[in-house]
Assembly symmetry: C2
Homo-oligomer: 243 residues x 2
């Protein structure tokens, strides 16, 4: 499995992704699930992927080839939603290419994407593209999107992410969310990729990659873990627990 998330706050966008993949249970590998497409001063696009690895790689390869040639909707679209639509189309095409309803073994070819970024003067935005090719955006009440193993890490996002927080707080919250997920589910694993895009910069986001022992990520993990434990120990006692 996978866990990727993106947050849209007033200050910009934060993207984060784990990098563990598995084909079956015993073929576990590490692949980058975050890809950027950047034309300085014109547009910045970040794509996160979850699902069938062959499908996501086929989609990303197609998009990268077109980007290198400055061709296709990634380079030409005037609105981010048009890029999301195109990602959905390419995803469907790649799924169909390897899908046959009478195959002896039924493997899901489905992939899900988060696309975020900014095109020229348009506001930064993000979309979750479903395997069916359709897509949704986020809302002011819930300004984050998640794909893959989304549930373990959702409670802290629900509590912290809101449009007014800083990019750095959104990034820290993403690290805490991914840490909680990694602790509870072995199929989500390091290293963690992160991209922090400042609104209207139209330049490459700040790109970070954290291993478990990277000093900053390690300090977050330690302080959060110890703090939770302390917080728990300080909770009010039941009425029969009088000292």
């Amino acid at each position: 499995m996978t866990y990727c998330l993106a947050s849209l706050v007033n200050a910009g966008l934060v993207f984060a992704a784990d990098s563990r993949t598995n084909a079956g249970l015993d073929n576990v590998n590490s692949y980058r699930k975050m890809h950027t497409f950047i034309w300085e001063g014109d547009r910045v696009l970040v794509l996160l992927s979850a699902g069938n690895l062959a499908t996501t790689q086929a989609v990303v390869t197609r998009l990268q080839r077109e980007a290198e040639e400055n061709a296709g909707p990634l380079h030409e679209a005037r609105h981010l939603s048009q890029v999301a639509e195109y990602v959905g189309e390419v995803s469907l095409e790649m799924q169909r290419r390897h899908h046959s309803p009478d195959a002896p073994n039924r493997v899901s070819m489905e992939s899900t994407f988060i696309l975020g970024g900014q095109i020229r003067e348009e506001d930064p935005g993000m979309f979750l593209v479903y395997p069916q090719g359709n897509f949704i955006t986020c809302s002011e009440e819930q300004p984050f999107l998640q794909i893959g193993e989304t549930k373990y890490g959702k409670p802290i996002l629900d509590r912290v992410i809101e449009p007014g927080i800083s990019l750095e707080d959104a990034a820290r919250c993403a690290l805490v969310s991914i840490d909680s997920t990694m602790r509870s589910n072995l199929s989500v694993g390091p290293p963690v990729d992160m991209a922090i895009y400042k609104r209207n910069s139209l330049t490459e986001p700040r790109m970070l990659r954290y291993k478990l022992n990277s000093p900053y990520f390690a300090s977050i993990r330690k302080q959060w873990g110890e703090g939770l434990r302390r917080l728990f120990d300080e909770l009010p006692r039941f009425d029969w627990e009088q000292q």
Copy 2:
């Protein structure tokens, strides 16, 4: 959906369950998902249920009727695992009764149960009974079982629950786990039922029921929420965030 959990620690057993049910999306109700079967001095059994409400009610009704007549494995089994086996059998029977493969609308009849308790001198134990009727127990590394919407509330259990903690800590942790789940998933809701069974007491567990505004639960929710936020705000800064 539903969220139920049970923890087995050296001091005894803790059970907790939400009480929201839904048939489809718009038929939302509140039902007790925790049922106790007690023969003082001989055995204490606690059953938590998730899944198809008709199936779980049919299973519980059958077990209650037999318990009233002091008949059947609940009253007679020498080992808790035999009771788990029986719950699985009854569950399968009830599922089959209303299952027809050519039904026009395919509703899942499946139910999942957690059975825990103690029979005479046997150590306290607990089992998760699958819809297929088979079952598993917990391990020392993970001395808790969950059914229903299990993922949102798992991280705090992973961090806190271990055999050496007190019954009260296990109970507090269950409340925090359910609170996190309720905040992130509307299909899990109050009131919260809780049973705290002291090892070797062979008497009725301490039974508690919390609404959102019950003073103790409200104080846990408030202190946990505010504490998390403070903990988050105190996390180390990125290296470029120098004041």
